[in-house]
């Protein structure tokens, strides 16, 4: 959907987050010089259209003791990826699951499934469960652990000129 100038102002005002105060929408509305009810209505419309997925906390996995974060990657037969991807995505320990293009010859993998755990052993055990589901549809796999968060911000919109 295309967004209006008002929506753009709202999105820009909320990029840094929603204030943790009693009346957060009134607070943001005051900054935008609109009334609270108008802001809430626009936010409801942005949610209905899918521009806003939800208003929620982004937790820091590391601080929660989920120290091992493994991006498991798989070379899955193209004809079977849609069915198998849905099965992998439904696993409770998989937090993100996508089909992405291979980048041959550097990168043969087309299925990406993010697995979090307290230890690398736990993540390895979960990787084995994924391998068992993929079976002979999988030709190769790898796991990439994250060792450092180098940047983490929300979406930033550029000022429109």
């Amino acid at each position: 959907m295309s967004i209006t100038n008002t929506d753009r102002q709202i999105i820009e005002a909320l990029q840094g987050g929603l204030p943790l105060v009693t009346a957060p929408f009134a607070d943001v509305a005051a900054r935008l010089e609109m009334d609270e009810a108008t802001l809430i209505d626009r936010l409801a419309a942005l949610k209905a259209s899918g521009v806003i997925r939800r208003i929620a906390a982004a937790p820091n996995h590391y601080k929660l003791g989920m120290i091992a974060n493994g991006m498991t990657v798989w070379d899955v037969e193209d004809t079977r990826i849609t069915t198998l991807g849905a099965q992998i995505g439904a696993l409770p320990f998989v937090t993100h699951c996508y089909e992405r293009p291979r980048a041959l010859p550097d990168w043969p993998y087309n299925l990406f499934a993010m697995v979090h755990g307290a230890t690398r052993d736990e993540v390895c055990e979960k990787r084995a469960q994924i391998a068992a589901i993929l079976g002979d549809a999988c030709r190769a796999s790898d796991i990439l652990y994250s060792t450092r968060i180098l940047k983490k911000t929300g979406l930033r919109l550029k000022e429109r000129t």
Binding site: S49, V51, I55, A56, P59, G65, A86, I149, K152, L155
Partner: protein, 150 residues
Amino acid sequence: MTMLDDTDRRILNRMQDDLPLVANPYAEVAAELGLTEADLLTRLNRMKEDRVITRFGPFFDAAAMGGAFCLCAMAVPEERFDSVLIKVNAHPEVAHNYERTHHLNMWFVLATETPERIGATADAIERETGLKVLRFPKLQEFFIGFRVAA
């Protein structure tokens, strides 16, 4: 690791779900959890200061606004890692960036307002660093949970 008590954990689990769109949303969530609004806000502010919560607010879908996301990866020589990182992170389009255990050791997500900006930003990073930026746009999304049990 930051010490969290059971109440903090319940709050964190609840706050990964949607906040109601009402004038006093935290009071509503506090009531659900059997807490006072003041206690909830104090704990949320503390968890944000301690960076247990990286961010609290709307999750935007850039694609729904006509924008785009793209996962990218680079193989950065170890001795150049810090200088390349500064150049990559300087782009506001770089939303997340992680170091990973692989020959491709820098993985970042570009979030832009238009699909064209993805290519333009990745090309600019290639020019500035002299390194190839592999691009992995999503073809299918199988699940988007990204909630974690605290």
